[in-house]
């Protein structure tokens, strides 16, 4: 089975990456021919090559190595998340300090957390369960770091990624078999903090209520959402043709990053967007089958499931934003959006996932 599933998995990944390359190239085109449009695709290809190398390397890392590296990787991530908050080291864009920038390339440490957080939490959960740790100990060793990382991302500020990291933690604990009572108890403990957040940052609440209003009065919707819906609508069933879209010419904001999916819709039509949806569902289903076949290794299954689910979930979340199903949130489309770290991390996650799913000598534990 594995022999036929893995090429399919890689093939779907390649298709999504290919769509990404085409659309980043197309969406970066501006009305004034010049360097930037070439610069975007060039950087994207550099990142893609880098991602392929790192992903390939990651696929060779054994579960055991991941277990050993997990604390260090997590610690490294936390250090970077702290450093990025320091003015001068982190670069502020649109009021948020999320990026390191060097030599024309930028690095977003919160993206790294998507890779390292599940590794770390799974490692700890495994230990905790082995020793039969108390709820209090679980809180200190797992929920503490989870909350810490989320908070660091939150103060950048990056509410979307922080929420995604929280969800990531929840998926690890849930799929890792953390007892249901403890999950409920943790949820009760966390709820005052989450509610307090809404009161502390009223504009977030306004964004949500404003968004709900916009459902009934589309002209009140935020500019980028209106443009996004317009862009998708212009595409229609079969699209305007690759490269023939108009909306990306600075009508649609962030056409090559968070809203690249709208450009897919304009240029490739409903056929194109549903194909991308199918590719993601296919990737997920095939990934789940791979996990299924990897019966013995709890760690590999838990981490692999979390990585895959969160990656596919982020893709779904991105489309939900683009189609105005949920309030606007800065969420990139994995594998397709232009964006160095996101691409790097997504490909690395998929590479590492393949590595985790590879049966190893002596590792197969009969059920």
């Amino acid at each position: 089975m594995t022999a036929s599933l893995k090429p399919l998995f890689l093939g779907l990944t390649a298709i999504l990456l290919g769509v990404g390359v085409m659309l980043v190239f197309s969406a970066s085109v501006s009305s004034r021919p010049g360097d930037p449009e070439v610069a975007y695709i060039a950087k994207h290809l550099v990142f893609l090559a880098l991602a392929a190398a790192i992903g390939g390397a990651a696929s060779q890392v054994s579960p055991e190595t991941w277990r050993r590296l997990a604390p260090y990787l997590f610690l490294g991530t936390v250090v970077l998340l702290v450093l990025v908050l320091i003015p001068g080291l982190g670069v502020k864009v649109n009021g948020a300090r999320r990026w390191f920038r060097m030599a024309g390339l930028s690095l977003q440490p919160s993206e790294l957390a998507k890779l390292t957080l599940p590794l770390y939490l799974a490692t700890v959960l495994e230990k905790q369960r082995r020793v039969g740790a108390t709820f209090r100990s679980d809180l200190a060793r797992m929920l503490g770091p989870l909350a810490g990382v989320s908070l660091l991302v939150l103060v950048e500020p990056d509410l979307g990624t922080a929420a995604l990291l929280m969800a990531t933690g929840a998926v690890v604990l849930w799929s890792g078999g953390w007892p249901l009572r403890r999950m409920l108890a943790a949820a009760v403990l966390a709820s005052p903090g989450l509610l307090g957040l809404l009161f502390l940052k009223p504009y977030q609440w306004q964004r949500i209520t404003g968004f709900v209003d916009a459902w009934t009065a589309p002209h009140l919707a935020p500019y980028q959402i209106r443009q996004s819906l317009l862009t998708l609508g212009v595409g229609g069933w079969f699209g305007q043709g690759l490269g023939a879209g108009w909306q990306k010419l600075s009508y649609l904001p962030e056409a090559n990053t968070d809203f690249v999916f709208s450009v897919v819709g304009e240029e490739l039509g409903l056929v194109g967007t549903l194909s991308v949806v199918a590719a993601w569902i296919g990737l997920y289903v095939v990934g789940l089958r791979l996990i299924d076949e990897r019966r013995g290794d709890w760690f590999a299954r838990t981490v692999g499931f979390t990585w895959l689910t969160m990656l596919v979930f982020q893709a779904a979340l991105n489309i939900a934003v683009v189609t105005a199903l949920v309030p606007p949130k800065g969420v990139s489309h994995p594998l397709i959006s232009y964006g160095g770290t996101s691409l790097l991390v997504s490909v690395t996650i998929l590479g590492a996932f393949c590595g985790l799913m590879r049966p190893r000598d002596g590792s197969a534990v009969p059920e």
Binding site: R129, L229, G233, D297, F305, T323, L325, G362
Partner: protein, 585 residues
């Protein structure tokens, strides 16, 4: 590859089926989310498509006007009188301006405007899409504005044609003016609007969100139809001479207003037409009073009317001769200066006894004219006045023409029989008087005066000239070559003598109505003089009218108007290269 050592822990994992249940729940939820997304995509891309396409198209296209260039106006020798140059006019889109202060400051610096006022205007226009900053910039200004590199969506140039008059104020009353919006106001600019003004075209441009034009939708382009060139009958060199002479006259006599008309009697073409005071747009008119400005806008030659006085007398004589009511060799006794008509006593300036028909005109005897009027009766007088074009517009193309005033016959009284023959009780424009004299000079055929020579283009247009016999050729020739030549030679018009030419002419001095008494004023006159040459084959008829001269020895037409008219006539003959009459000194 080593097998994980601590795997035995898996024995304490929840059963595989439990884990599987948990992951399946998550997986199913996520697949369900994807299903919702797929449905949403079908909705967004399948149903609202037409609407989206239309609004997307609307937000990226922009219809630009391609302004038609107004045609040029040239004189009869194709000298340029009015032309248009392309200029850029600067407009802002206030809704696209985030920093009004900064934009205002940079524009104010380049255009020499008040930055505060401009910033205020931009803020006040918030939410609007269009605001003129300044129209019709000079090329330098336009270049400097472009160099500012303001956000492209925030401003644009609109091409507009600025009307320029290369000869300055020459013929300004004939030309009128074309305003900043390209609409003709007065004169030929207004009269020939339908030829001069073309039809604007338009072009659909495709822009990106930042306002850069990225494409032209050629299928939507409508090319502009440019205006056609118009040629006038005016001779601008002669016109300039006439205007110079009128300026001198204004200095010498200080009248309220004055005007001059030069006609070619053989064609009805207006060779020159000048009116004073000058149009108020002329720089020297600055600081003048509101009343002056009002007078300045009028083309007195065709919009002001006055009682023609003695200049009207030859038409009555012509009618009486043609109807056989008087004979050329007949004499009239002029009562030694006083003549009773019913309850009214008429007076002459000098006491005359027996005067021939010719001398009635030469001496301008009111009593002699009244006696001729009695022969014609009111019916005949009315017929004569209407025949020579009084009481209705001459038909010149220029706007603002007055029809003059000729009361309907029913309102005439026995007074009229004495008044009309001496040019009272009716009012005429200077152009009407000039045209009527031109009819005599043209062998009795009245031609409608006109300023249009030709509309250029593939299908040229020409003026419609109405021609109508109003006196017999014989009578007309006798009047012009006889009494009217004598007026200049030995009568009231001796100041109009020109060396080398046989000049004919007629003076006129009309009393203006006194606004207080309603009767004739003894101090306020309109002096006029109409003359032409050569008498045997007239090439030009000149009329000069002077409204309320205030300086000089006399207000008589023969004194105030004749010298100017003579100068203008000489200039006209020279410009026409009319041969001097043989045998004259």
């Amino acid at each position: 590859m080593t097998a994980p050592v601590d795997v035995p822990a898996s024995s304490r994992e929840p059963g595989p089926s439990a884990t599987r249940l948990r992951t399946n729940v998550v997986a199913c939820l996520l697949i369900a989310v994807w299903a919702v997304i797929a449905l949403r995509l079908i909705a967004v891309q399948g149903f609202s498509r037409v609407l989206s396409e239309r609004s997307a198209r609307r937000q990226r296209t922009f219809v630009e006007t391609l302004p038609a260039r107004p045609g040029d106006i040239r004189d009869r020798a194709r000298r340029l009188l009015a032309t248009s140059i392309r200029t850029h006019s600067l407009a802002l889109d206030p809704s696209e301006i985030d920093e009004p202060r900064r934009v205002a400051e940079s524009l104010a610096g380049v255009l020499g405007l008040d930055a505060d006022a401009l910033a205020e205007r931009i803020v006040a226009a918030h939410g609007k899409r269009f605001l003129w900053v300044r129209r019709q910039l000079t090329p330098d200004e336009a270049e400097s504005v472009a160099a500012l590199q303001l956000p492209p969506a925030a401003w644009h140039f609109r091409v507009e044609h600025r009307r320029v008059y290369p000869q300055g104020t020459v013929a300004s009353h004939v030309l009128g003016r074309r305003d900043i919006d390209g609409v003709g106001r007065g004169g030929a600019e207004e009269a020939f609007e339908r030829w001069l003004v073309g039809r604007d075209g338009r072009r659909t441009l495709v822009r990106d969100a930042r306002g850069f034009v990225i494409d032209v939708d050629g299928s939507q382009t409508v090319e502009p139809v440019h205006g056609r060139d118009v040629r006038l009958t005016i001779d601008s060199v002669l016109q300039a001479d006439v205007e110079r002479r009128m300026d001198e006259l204004m200095d010498d006599c200080r009248p309220l207003a004055a005007c001059a008309v030069v006609l070619d009697p053989r064609t009805g073409e207006v060779l020159a037409m000048a009116s004073r005071p000058q149009l108020p747009i002329a720089p020297e008119a600055e600081g003048s009073s509101a009343k002056d400005e009002d007078l300045g806008w009028r083309n007195h030659a065709l919009s002001s009317m006055f009682e023609p006085g003695s200049t009207f007398k030859p038409f009555i004589v012509a009618a009486a001769l043609d109807q056989g009511l008087i004979a050329r060799d007949e004499s009239f006794h002029c009562g030694f200066g006083a003549y009773r008509m019913g309850r009214r006593v008429l007076h002459d300036h000098h006491a005359y006894g027996l005067l021939s028909v010719a001398d009635v005109l030469v001496k301008s005897s009111n009593i002699g004219m009244a006696k001729i009027g009695e022969r014609l009766t009111n019916d005949g007088l009315y017929e004569a006045a209407t025949a020579f074009g009084f009481g209705r517009r001459t038909g010149i193309e220029l706007p603002g023409e007055s029809p003059g005033r000729l009361h309907p016959l029913e309102r005439w009284t026995s007074y009229s029989t004495g008044s009309i023959p001496m040019g009272q009780e009716l009012a005429a424009t200077p152009l009407q008087v000039a045209a009527a004299h031109a009819a005599l000079a043209n062998g009795g055929v009245l031609l409608s005066p006109h300023v249009l020579l030709q509309v250029d283009g593939p299908e040229p247009a020409y003026p419609a000239v109405v021609s109508r016999p109003v006196a017999s050729e014989e009578t007309a020739r006798w009047l012009v070559q006889g009494p009217l030549v004598d007026v200049v030679r030995r009568g009231t018009g001796q100041k109009a003598k020109l060396a080398g030419y046989s000049v004919f002419g007629k003076t006129g001095t009309a009393q203006k109505q006194d606004p207080e008494t309603g009767g004739y004023s003894h101090s306020r006159h309109i002096g006029s003089f109409v003359c032409g040459a050569p008498a045997t084959s007239p090439r030009a008829v000149v009329l000069v009218a002077v409204d309320e001269p205030t300086r000089g020895s006399s207000t008589f037409g023969g004194i105030v108007a004749a010298p100017a008219a003579a100068d203008i006539l000489r200039a006209t003959l020279e410009s026409l290269q009319a041969p001097p009459s043989a045998g004259l000194p």
